[in-house]
């Protein structure tokens, strides 16, 4: 087992190098250059000598391979450059924004579990009844509603029927005002967690159905233990193992899937930072600096 883990960890190294090459290439392949991104229209007024000296200053005159090694050593020492727009170190921006995205992802998982597990249990216990069919239809709809649609509809319903604008006002952090923070985060979390709750429901249901046919459940029932305890003490504990695995895998996807939800609800997380950087660069001069993308 230890050998297997060591092998897996070592196999990560070439993959990480591959990821770094892909990121570096993506940065270099985007039309435009760092100088244009920094100076904007004034870049056109530079003389050839000025441009060359700026290229030398930023290391853009080096070969792509040399540039990669310089970039890589910067990344490994925590230097991701400066944001062109905000003038702050990119690493600081990431540290500022990441906790917000993390909070959103954790809240989404909690919502998904709160909705998905009870629904999955009920669906499995009352398998093939109208209750089960309704729960499965609900799960299928949950899986089919894209989060940008659900987010838009939530904002519409809240603003029209309840006169609440969940995407208005400045973001307040959890440590400043937990109540206000929760008010701001709950609807984005519902948006992000809905389709995941459908996956949790389906996994809980199929796992429960499998567990409920096991011998130890039959034994527990034949001992006269009430059904609630059979489910809670014996079935649920085992049925939740694949659900926990699913949560582990999906959590990573949730962290990386907040782009649209953060955009809709104006949550200043890492997703919004990334999308804003990409769209700004695309819609502007289509010029890209490595630091802005990071």
């Amino acid at each position: 087992m230890t050998q297997y883990l060591i092998n897996r960890l070592f196999s990560l190294i070439p993959m990480m190098i591959g990821v770094s090459i892909l990121v570096f290439s993506a940065i270099r392949l985007v039309p435009g250059d760092l100088i244009t991104a920094q100076l904007g229209t004034e870049a056109g007024m530079l003389s050839e000598t000025q441009r060359q000296s700026l290229e030398a200053f930023y290391g853009l005159d080096k070969s792509p391979l040399e540039q990669y090694f310089v970039w890589m050593s910067d990344v490994l020492t925590g230097n991701l450059g400066l944001s062109v727009r905000q003038g702050q170190p990119v690493l600081d921006l990431i540290f500022d924004r990441f906790p917000i995205t993390l909070e959103l992802a954790i809240l989404s998982v909690l919502i998904a579990l709160i909705i998905g597990i009870p629904l999955g249990i009920v669906s499995a216990i009352y398998s093939n009844t109208i209750l089960d069919i309704l729960a499965r239809i609900l799960a299928m709809i949950g899986l089919s509603v894209p989060n940008f649609l659900l987010g838009t509809l939530i904002i519409y319903v809240l603003s029209v029927y309840f006169r609440i604008l969940p995407n208005s006002g400045d973001y307040v952090s959890l440590f400043e005002d937990p109540v206000r923070n929760l008010q701001q985060m709950i609807f984005p979390a519902i948006t992000l967690g809905t389709s995941f709750s459908a996956s949790v429901m389906r996994m809980t249901r199929s796992s429960m159905l499998e567990v409920l046919t096991e011998d130890y459940i039959r034994t527990a029932r034949s001992k006269g233990i009430i059904e609630f305890l059979v489910i809670r003490r014996h079935a649920l504990k085992n049925a939740l193992i694949p659900v926990i695995t699913l949560v582990g895998i999906e959590f990573g996807y949730l962290l990386g899937g907040t782009f649209i939800v953060e955009q809709i609800f104006a949550i200043p997380g890492i997703g919004r930072l990334t999308v804003n950087a990409i769209t700004r660069l695309y819609k502007g001069s289509r010029s890209l600096s490595p630091s802005t993308l990071c």
Binding site: S11, P14, M15, G18, V19, L22, A26, L29, V30, P31, S127, N128, T129, I133, R136, M140, I141, L143, S144, V145, P146, F148, L149, T152, L153, I155, Y156, S159, V160, Y253, G256, G257, F259, I260, Q263, T274, V275, I278, T279, L281, Y282, K283, R286, L288
Partner: protein
């Protein structure tokens, strides 16, 4: 006692019937939804729409749905139904082309990796893992930023994102099929690698790949709509369901039909592919039988 057995037999039969109806109905409903949207998409593609999609009717701006404009008009007086029809055509076009490209390339890559195994398999699959390290939408956004927006660039971007998924599924299937006796028999009869793969392996991984294709169509639809929603997919004045939803968000309070109908169209299409995919998985995937 006998009565009890009969009762439980009846109950089991009912349960089986209910299960059967549920499964079949889901698949049929999914199929009908997809056929409906395919018909709408074909009409949109060939311009068979109530009004030209970019034609503006300034006097009828933000008209609520009525007999003249069945699904209302937008802020420029453009017919929402016509734009949904063309948007459906664009979305389906992207989804079908994307899944077609990624299935073909992914299956080829996965088959080579799974069939030959060893170092080649390791190199191919670790390369695929590099793409898996990126969230799908982020990778698509990056590629679109490099290539530029537009329908075919969107297709290329989403194809690159989904190819590793097909490669991984195909590889797994090929690894299990290549050890089967009929493959060993073909090999012992002197069959070449190409012949074995084409005649014996690919037909046997096809059912699982078909299920994957159906489900991937729904993901591709969502990714395309997501890219357009963020302004990096289809560009105005060309309609796209995601773009319609995004560009009309601010008007939702006074003209809810502008977000409800495009949203409903996306949701129903994704639902259709999911239902069809689930049904086909029950039918074709041996692991779920």
């Amino acid at each position: 006692m006998a009565d009890h057995s009969v009762a439980s037999l009846d109950q089991n039969q009912w349960q089986r019937k209910l299960q059967h109806i549920w499964r079949e109905r889901g698949t049929v409903v999914g199929g009908v939804i997809i056929l409906f949207f395919l018909a709408i998409g074909v009409c949109g593609f060939f311009g068979i729409t109530p009004y030209p999609v970019v034609e503006q009717h300034p006097l009828d701006r933000l008209s609520a749905p009525d007999t003249t404009y069945l699904l209302g008009t937008d802020q420029f007086g453009r017919d929402v139904l016509s734009r949904i029809m063309k948007g459906t055509a664009n979305s389906l076009q992207v989804a079908i082309l994307t899944v077609g490209i990624s299935t073909t390339i992914g299956t080829m890559i996965g088959t080579i990796a799974g069939y030959f195994g060893g170092r080649l398999d390791n190199i191919i699959m670790r390369t695929m893992d590099i793409f898996f390290a990126f969230p799908a939408l982020l990778l698509a956004l990056l590629i679109v930023t490099i290539l530029g927006t537009g329908l075919y660039n969107t297709v290329l971007a989403i194809s690159i994102v989904y190819t590793p998924i097909f490669a991984r599924v195909a590889r797994g299937q090929v690894i299990s099929v290549k050890e089967m006796e009929f493959v060993l028999a073909a090999r012992s009869l002197g069959g070449g690698h190409f012949l074995i793969v084409i005649r014996h392996i690919l037909p046997n991984i096809l059912p699982v790949m078909i299920v994957q294709v159906t489900l991937a169509l729904s993901w591709a639809l969502i990714t395309e709509a997501g890219l357009s929603f963020l302004g990096l997919g289809t560009q105005q004045p060309e309609p796209s369901l995601g773009l319609e939803l995004s560009s009309n968000r601010a008007l939702a309070e006074i003209a809810p039909w502008l977000i409800l109908y495009p949203g409903l169209a996306i949701m129903l299409m994704v639902l259709g592919f999911n239902l069809l995919g689930d049904g086909l998985r029950d039918l074709l995937d041996p692991r779920t039988r």
